[in-house]
Symmetry: D2
Amino acid sequence: MSVYRLLISCPDTHGLVAIVSQFILEFNGNIKEAHHHLDEQNQHFFMRIEIESNSISCSLDEFRAAFLIVAERCNMVWRLSDAAQLKRVLIMGSNASHCVADLLHRGHEDELEGQIVGVLSNHDKLSKLASWYDVAFEKVSIAKATKEADMTEMMQAVDRFNPDVIVLARYMQIIPEEMCAKYSGNIINIHHSFLPSFVGANPYARAAERGVKLIGATCHYVTANLDEGPIIEQDVVRVDHGDSADDMKKMGQDVEKITLAKGLQYHLEDRVLVCNNKTIVFS
Amino acid sequence: MSVYRLLISCPDTHGLVAIVSQFILEFNGNIKEAHHHLDEQNQHFFMRIEIESNSISCSLDEFRAAFLIVAERCNMVWRLSDAAQLKRVLIMGSNASHCVADLLHRGHEDELEGQIVGVLSNHDKLSKLASWYDVAFEKVSIAKATKEADMTEMMQAVDRFNPDVIVLARYMQIIPEEMCAKYSGNIINIHHSFLPSFVGANPYARAAERGVKLIGATCHYVTANLDEGPIIEQDVVRVDHGDSADDMKKMGQDVEKITLAKGLQYHLEDRVLVCNNKTIVFS
Amino acid sequence: MSVYRLLISCPDTHGLVAIVSQFILEFNGNIKEAHHHLDEQNQHFFMRIEIESNSISCSLDEFRAAFLIVAERCNMVWRLSDAAQLKRVLIMGSNASHCVADLLHRGHEDELEGQIVGVLSNHDKLSKLASWYDVAFEKVSIAKATKEADMTEMMQAVDRFNPDVIVLARYMQIIPEEMCAKYSGNIINIHHSFLPSFVGANPYARAAERGVKLIGATCHYVTANLDEGPIIEQDVVRVDHGDSADDMKKMGQDVEKITLAKGLQYHLEDRVLVCNNKTIVFS
Amino acid sequence: MSVYRLLISCPDTHGLVAIVSQFILEFNGNIKEAHHHLDEQNQHFFMRIEIESNSISCSLDEFRAAFLIVAERCNMVWRLSDAAQLKRVLIMGSNASHCVADLLHRGHEDELEGQIVGVLSNHDKLSKLASWYDVAFEKVSIAKATKEADMTEMMQAVDRFNPDVIVLARYMQIIPEEMCAKYSGNIINIHHSFLPSFVGANPYARAAERGVKLIGATCHYVTANLDEGPIIEQDVVRVDHGDSADDMKKMGQDVEKITLAKGLQYHLEDRVLVCNNKTIVFS
């Protein structure tokens, strides 16, 4: 049963749910799932509605055009997507392979609501893995001396993949502001710590140094402010004094790959709305 | 900001959300929070809507009377409650005090959306604790030889408290079918295992015997089938070979009290719907 | 820094730690890590000691021969292994690939303290995955009509791999008693439920049916009693009413693969002792 | 079965375990439980040994005197305590009562290996709770204008209780350096965030602001560097976009009280060693 997904974010006003559900009913639409959330502090309302595609009495374009009028009246930020149109996913990695291998395997087993269109890396190591899974691989080296030119080349490579969403699967390079802006809300990173703890580099070494009893991973949208973007998902695992920074790194890799896959899946299913650098995740 | 809570369960049909939200809008009601769930397998629809009380243009009784017509048309099982009317909570315990003390403290600190009206026990031990918190205490002994008469007396004592919800905080006696039926959907038990593991008595001893690596607790509604009622909430804690059955009992007590408080709170906030011996918890 | 691992299980007696540590000191051995556990109920003592290999003043065989005398005096069940000798791991799977892919990737990245020597399956599906990772693949079909003969053939195939440990990565066939006995303590299974809940088939469907709020996975040694062997590791993940049996299956797969990898790693590092159908895991 | 607990921290050297276990054997001591840990980076060794008290062939003082010679030879920092001598616990609180009530209840039920000797607060609110549990209560107000004098008075009050361990159960005042030094390693604080996230004030508000998906609590030793002391125990709980800072505060209180009780219990059972601002917890 295929569905359309309607995501809405707007100032709270009287009768919003009635207006939207009435609109859907006029087109004979059948609501399969609906989530609402009122942010009381900001008096902002959020909705996610799944409508059975074939219950709608017109084309998606006509339905979208008709909703535009409602949306403008209520000052909505909104999007309407067809779940049958899989999002194009570009994976960017470096040398670490645990997240990339996990995503490729999920893609191969049709567990992701998306289509992995390529792996882009600044190193060769992931090439063999990508080819195993019949996924296009491209390498763009990033050197200190030629960073600006390299980054431009990288961004051109990204564009050639024409991705809907870009997954930084331990890419380890800072994304240029220009690219952050262009793909705003569509770049997902996995940070190998429980943010905001240990922002920046070498979080496991610093976690071991600080003697924390839990380590974690954070899946978040990338913004121009490093490690400060809206958090989609986090998880932790217990460690103890017997675990070195290296042990934590190994244990953390399992949390990283699961957390990244979960966050990406939420995004692919259009379950995430962003507001004031926070996410609403209708899971 | 006080709210009315509308809970609905009915066969799925076209336009349900529109019908209900349109109805609320006609009375000028402002929806603060709404949850929907479609059970696809059974084609059954569930809704929970919080409406700002003072946005409604008539009395609660008039609003309820008007909704009755909608409800009958759609074959709804429903209830409409006023959050300002706190539910009356009766705690039933035995000798173990961890859950009872925790609930009484939450009640005392106004952390429960309910009013604790009494503690009923088959032993004296909890009496002092109840009196500390200025909560009425009543004891009805249960003896093997006179069980039937004792149970009748117990049920009369329960009725005198006129409770909306009865919490079995490690009461350790099997509740008569008659009482299960009378307070159906309003008796909450905490079972000291991760059900359906270790149904019945001495779960910690059996968990230690089986060598499990996690133990847990289960908060569920009581039905005539012992330990088989709908599960509201569960949680677990990690144990290892160094933990004896006694250690597990101690560690489990923390999980029990937190899980019971959480499940009770869901019930008090009208977040739980029951269907086919399962719960829908709109948390 | 390579180590020998000495694992001991024996009736508790006076001065055990002194006897063993004195013995090691006589051979100039340097203890890197030591764990002790007294099972008070059974008055049984368990030890695991890591000794720096090159601190020992003789060969492993001489050291082993010398310890035999101590061991017999104290009635010890014991083993002494060289961590540098990687255990030979045979993976047995069926159609589901999540656990197999995860283990193969860990093997490939040198994250397992073992050497994966083959994948054995009753289906073809895992063949490509094994060949990607340059691991030998063998198929032995199991048909209802010819089960006995097929099982014999399967056991011969297993033997040809000469495995130290056999991992049932969702193999889905009941292992013959003969094989359970032959590889006793060296067959590891992942059960897709939080045992002892939902022993047997289709645990996710039954978990959905029962309406549990957490689902889990159990890594355990295989014995002739199906799903009753000693538990090595367990973990859980939270689910809710919105999750169907299929959703639970997907969510559970992540728990399965992590839990299996963790349990296997404990075994490969000689961290597990079995006593009375329970494990002592010196993690 | 009463035990002595021997805790040792010293530079790693050859035969340490043999030396110590041999020493214990000479006094006929029976080892009930032993933990060892080698910090490889710092080449430092840690031991915790439980010895059955009545197996020792001399008095505790004689045993201690004899061990002194061993300890000096090996450059040990060490302590030897008798579990039968309960540590004196002073609880310091402010207005929040969840942690204090939980600790008092555990004390009352003999679940703590310690004796609660008093509650000290800068407010009146906890007075009734303390008197319910028959625990001495003392109030020392802390005012901005007279802070220095008030703190001196507070420290005198603390001293009068002659505590072995001081528990800051949400005391909300910065402890003077002088007191940190005097009771070094014996002041335990519960911080209401998952340190090092949200060091300082109002962590729940800042967690809500940052949009994290898990919140936590940290039990740590107090040092002169605020919120920087060695971490004993941490735990987390899942939150989502629907949880306001107030909701997080409520949910966090359960994590706080459990985490504090767990950390305190480790301390009372002499399971914690501190090294380089980190803890070794032999749990």
